[in-house]
Symmetry: C2
Subunit: 338 residues, 2 copies
């Protein structure tokens, strides 16, 4: 909203009501391999249709839509990739993250928004069995497979953030490891690191595959089960909490953080990767808006502010917490010291 | 995309994948009467929850989301309406258009996007029975009821655009009248106007109710059936084609326009309200992006450019066509002369 706005306009309302079409369009483009086909040099709707086994009419309409939406360039009748699309949506790019739609647009997450009105009324998910936090929910295997590429970049950024003086050894616990990318990246960047990944058994299969592929499997072990139930062991230098705490209420988080505190060695650190909105809870938009995903898909999850996290860590016995942005990732990092 | 962008960013991808949540949020807010409750003076999540019979937690998360999305203001813990929200989303505003979500987010239209990939492959809707253009499709009754308020403003703007020297009489045919707002508004603004509305019988019930409510029923008559089959009569000064031609391919449009041409008096005008993209087909975004709605919900519909419309009208016998923007409506108007 510009402060100079003189007359009311229905455009934002119309665009927002139609926003679900943007999600469908990017999903279709990824499923059709459109960005990859343009990266190969196919430029016109005619050539792209042939390459992607689609109709020329459908391809023309989809490409124009994606150009208007900021994903493509158009000159005469030829389409090109933006820098972002070439980097993240062309399968031949090492930073390809298109597979993320298989989790982010999975039926479970989308169904959570089918009855948002009722979730707002009740104050929590209307999905059966507590939604995404149900034990061994199969969506987390899908998460682990789909999100690994999207997490490679923030995992590198986080890993650089926690780099200290070279350690002869670094004992790392990766809680709710999922794809395992955070712990695996720390292992790659620290030759003395030994990583213990914790998650549901079927999810850990994915993490172990990734550890194997990325050459750290000899320094990679696992603990199967719920982070709230299993024994963590002790003497860790780092405990990673990546996109985990947002699923739970404050008291549940504090009880887990006490367990994390106990498992850390003296001087050890807990590293939290999260959507952390500012104190106003409305900026930055990706972190502020993430709270609605938790309202719709969990009983009591939220996007907590740094002040709230700092308080939780203090209650769990940590001495202090630091807040870091992680650009160009939309997420934030909190490093908390035992 | 800023031309100064130096490093690739995944933010547009992440926002676009999550865009369906924006549609769900605005729908929930309208269903809960949130904007109306704020307009009444309720400001905090606590007070809004009580007024809207919702949880305080759900209300706080929804209001923060809508603030980040541009629909609300926030100061301390109090929420307020933007100029746009106060005008268009508060039920007590005469320009309230919140009911539009009942059509724009109807299951039929949203299901059309469930399998967009296949629609792009095939070049047309994957909905059964030709999607939204099936004879007497019940969605058009829903359209007529839900969209009347949203169309009041563009109907006024269009009516002003066609105002000529005061007529002693003005014979108007409103093809696929729906809610009837375009023809009814012309009748309100021109005391000598007689309007004939054409649509499916159940849809015409809604148009007749609106004509009654708005005080023009004595100058309002109807023709039931398909615009392609029924006799229009003749001697019309104006034929209105509002949001109709986009459902069909060029040849079908031309055949209809010939019939329109025949029904017009000498010097008569066809008035087309449409999403008309520029020749580049990527601007302005609302008109350019509308084409995807036609791909997904009709066999052969499209958002045509002015050059394409001009050609269709010429082929149907019209002498010339004029192009007009209709701000702040996102739509455009074409006036074609017999």
């Amino acid at each position: 909203m510009s402060v100079e706005q003189q007359a009311p306009s229905p455009v934002l309302f119309f665009e927002t009501v139609s926003a679900y079409q943007r999600s469908a369009a990017i999903k279709a483009a990824i499923e059709l391999g459109l960005f990859t086909a343009i990266g190969e040099g196919n430029r016109t709707a005619h050539d792209l249709a042939a390459r992607c086994q689609a109709s020329e009419r459908g391809m023309r309409i989809l490409c124009d839509y994606l150009t208007a939406a900021g994903f493509l360039t158009k000159e005469n009748d030829g389409y090109g990739l933006t820098m972002d699309s070439a980097t993240f949506l062309d399968k031949k790019s090492p930073a390809y993250m298109g597979s993320a739609v298989e989790f982010l647009l999975s039926p479970m997450l989308m169904q959570a928004f089918d009855n948002l009105t009722e979730a707002v009324r009740q104050g929590g998910t209307r999905l059966p069995d507590e939604g995404s936090v149900a034990p061994e929910h199969p969506v987390w295997v899908q998460f682990a497979r789909a999100m690994a590429p999207m997490m490679a970049m923030p995992a590198q950024l986080m890993s650089k953030l926690i780099a200290a003086a070279p350690h002869s050894s670094l004992k790392v616990l990766d809680i709710a490891a999922g794809h395992g990318m955070y712990g695996i990246t720390v292992a790659q960047n620290n030759p003395g690191a030994e990583v213990v990944a914790l998650d549901w058994p079927h999810v850990l299969e994915v993490a172990k595959e990734n550890a194997q592929k990325l050459g750290v499997s000899e320094r990679y072990s696992t603990i199967q089960g719920s982070a709230f139930d299993v024994d963590f062991g002790s003497g860790y230098d780092l405990v990673l909490l990546t996109n985990f705490l947002h699923h739970f209420d404050t008291e549940t988080c504090v009880s887990l953080l006490k367990k994390v505190h106990d498992a850390l060695a003296e001087g050890g650190r807990a590293v939290t990767v999260e959507f952390v909105p500012n104190e106003d809870r409305i900026t930055p938009p990706p972190s502020a808006m993430f709270s609605l995903v938790m309202l719709s898909s969990t009983p009591k999850g939220d996007a907590y502010t740094f002040r709230e996290f700092d308080e939780m860590f203090k209650r769990a016995g940590f001495s202090r917490s630091e807040f870091h942005q992680l650009p160009p990732s939309p997420q934030q990092v909190i490093i908390s010291y035992k």
